[in-house]
């Protein structure tokens, strides 16, 4: 209850804070970069569909695309949290490699192809990922070393240790339970790996957008000092966020083992950059305080769809890099312009929103 009772209120003073929710919701939605980047994705899909027809617009094609981004989607959930705190985690690819090596070793040591063995491996992978994440988070939050440096260091260390553990040779003994899970299992018609990724994405989205944990993640990225002033334990929260990113790398390791049936020691050197690009394309701001899991998923689909589309219409796959790089820079440019406009107090001109307005 408020202690203030308005004295002698003029009638015109009560124009409080009551904008029709539909309007403000639409406006908020239209202001989200993830929404117009979804438009870009749909345009790309439309273009390829026109060019290649059913060959592109087939279930099998999209099934393949979703297979290809499943691991990155899981990593992207952790990365979205990290970047919203205005941090960065360059170590995810290496942590994935390290965790998959640890998991593979644990599973090889216990021997067998059962889910029991696989379960041990899953636990080992996630525990290893969390350990790396806690280490990253501790160095960022407590030792105050810039996240870029901390995670560049752990990128190098985790990969180095994975190579030490294996002599640089991939471990190819993965329990059949895992590989079969990838090859044969479908859940509600969705292949297993994308399904797992979807579950992780949905949970990640709920945590980010609907819980205190998510709210504090935004608050810290938006105004770390302000967050401290209201009594949020910023250090602990940062450690948890990096631990989450590590855990996702651990889970990603399991999915990668299931997908490829082997560790991928030499295969993850660009994973971090690809995931970061997707997160940023999806509207999560590298300045912190802003972003969404939904945007990250859209940001992952754009390169994957481009790649699949180029293959189908017979354009050399090299063009994918050119296209993705262009989208990345354009996305950040638009994001910055919007920000500048918002700071000037003007509501940012927004094509989507304008469309909705004129329709009304």
């Amino acid at each position: 209850m408020s202690v203030i009772t308005p004295p002698g209120q003029a009638p015109d003073q009560q124009v409080v804070a009551d904008a029709p929710p539909s309007d403000s919701y639409l406006k908020r939605l239209g202001n989200l970069q993830s929404v117009w980047i979804l438009g870009v994705l749909l345009l790309i899909i439309l273009a390829f569909s026109l060019a290649a027809g059913d060959k592109f617009l087939s279930t099998s094609n999209f099934s393949l695309i979703s297979q290809n981004i499943a691991v990155w989607a899981v990593l992207g959930v952790g990365m979205t949290f990290v970047i919203i705190t205005s941090g960065i985690d360059l170590s995810i690819g290496s942590v994935l490699v390290f965790s998959s090596v640890v998991a593979a070793k644990v599973m090889a040591a216990s021997g067998g192809d059962s889910w029991g063995v696989a379960g041990l491996g899953i636990l080992a992978a996630i525990a290893s990922g969390v350990a790396w994440g806690v280490l990253n988070g501790f160095l960022v939050a407590k030792a105050k070393i810039p996240a870029l440096i901390v995670t560049l260091g752990s990128l190098s260390i985790a990969l180095g240790l994975a190579q030490v553990l294996t002599g640089g040779i991939d471990i190819r003994s993965v329990p059949e339970a895992l590989t079969d899970f990838n090859t044969y299992v479908r859940i509600l018609g969705v292949p297993a790996l994308p399904f797992v990724a979807l579950v992780v994405v949905v949970i990640g989205g709920i945590v980010l957008h609907k819980t205190k944990f998510g709210r504090y993640t935004y608050a810290i990225g938006s105004n770390e000092l302000g967050a401290r002033r209201v009594g949020i334990n910023v250090d602990r929260h940062l450690i948890m966020v990096y631990a989450l990113s590590g855990a996702m790398a651990g889970l990603g390791a399991v999915l990668a083992l299931a997908q490829f049936g082997t560790t991928t020691i030499a295969g993850q050197s660009l994973t971090n950059l690809n995931v970061i690009a997707a997160v940023v394309i999806g509207g999560t701001s590298i300045f912190g305080g802003q972003g969404s899991i939904f945007g990250t998923v859209v940001g992952l689909f754009i390169p994957a769809v481009l790649q699949a589309g180029f293959v189908i219409i017979g354009v050399e796959a090299f063009w994918q890099g050119v296209a993705v790089g262009t989208v990345l820079v354009a996305a950040v440019y638009v994001d910055q312009s919007r920000r500048a406009a918002a700071l000037r107090g003007a509501s940012a001109p927004n094509p989507l929103l304008a469309m909705f307005r004129t329709r009304k």
Partner: protein, 263 residues
């Protein structure tokens, strides 16, 4: 009638390393009154506020709240007592909307999920009671004007039923109209029985709304006086040299440095 202070600061010392910023500082804040905390730049006003609100630990002295000595070791402790601080560098999160900012750190939940509907309702009621105009509850703090930001920060105090509100230079960056609005809010907080501390450099503001004045001079309390008992120029003297007439930190007779300030 003799009213007990709601908040008493007694003999507080605070050093940062070798630099002693606060020395034996005293301040009393009474319910239903605006206490202006004045002092030159660097006098230690903001530091005193941060000591009260648990951001900095104090080296010596006591904070007494409602007659009880209290230890405030974090902003959460201060909030739990009912002390709300509006910081000089407005600590709103630009990317969060008004509701989220007002509840930051004290969110309402249902289960594990945030209870947005309840928070929105409570924020709405609070802002309505302050007759705050022209803001949408879901607009991000970044889009607010300076005056609106101050208002939202002050509204937090109302929302949380605070008993003491401390405002660190709330009008420093505001235009004339917005300043008047904020001062009017400050006055209303006090009229509703809260103890209000207003830090300000502006003598007009101080004399417009305050009941008492506490002057800091180089980290020491120069004087605690009733606003009605002093003039503008006396307060300016307290701020600039630490004393005026027989009030204040009278210069050590042995030192001519102190005397030199008077003409």
């Amino acid at each position: 009638m003799a009213v007990r202070p709601l908040l008493e600061v007694r003999g507080v010392d605070k050093s940062f390393g070798a630099v002693q910023v606060l020395r034996d500082v005293a301040m009393n804040v009474f319910p239903g009154e605006v206490t202006a905390l004045v002092g030159d730049n660097g006098a230690g006003k903001s530091t005193l506020v941060k000591c009260i609100s648990g951001i900095y630990p104090i080296d010596a002295g006591q904070v007494v709240f409602d007659g009880r000595p209290v230890t405030v070791s974090s902003p959460k402790d201060a909030a739990a007592l009912g002390i709300e601080v509006v910081y000089q560098d407005l600590a709103l999160c630009d990317n969060l909307d008004i509701v989220s900012n007002m509840f930051l750190g004290r969110e309402k939940r249902s289960g594990i999920a945030l209870d947005e509907a309840t928070m929105e309702q409570m924020a709405h009621r609070t802002l309505a009671s302050l007759s705050v105009r022209s803001v949408s509850l879901r607009q991000p703090a970044a889009s607010l004007s300076g005056g609106e930001r101050q208002t939202i920060a002050i509204a937090k105090a109302v929302l949380w039923n605070s008993r003491v509100v401390i405002l660190d230079e709330p009008t420093a960056a505001l235009g004339v109209a917005q300043t008047a609005q904020v001062l009017e809010l400050v006055r209303r907080l006090a009229d509703n029985g809260l103890g209000v501390v207003l830090i300000s450099h502006n003598m007009n503001d101080v004399f417009a709304v305050s009941d008492r004045i506490t002057a800091l001079y180089l980290g020491r309390t120069a004087a605690q006086v009733r606003t009605s008992e002093v003039t503008h120029s006396q307060v300016v003297e307290l701020i600039t040299v630490g004393y005026t007439g027989s009030i204040g930190l009278l210069p050590d007779p042995g030192s001519y440095e102190g005397m030199g300030g008077r003409s």
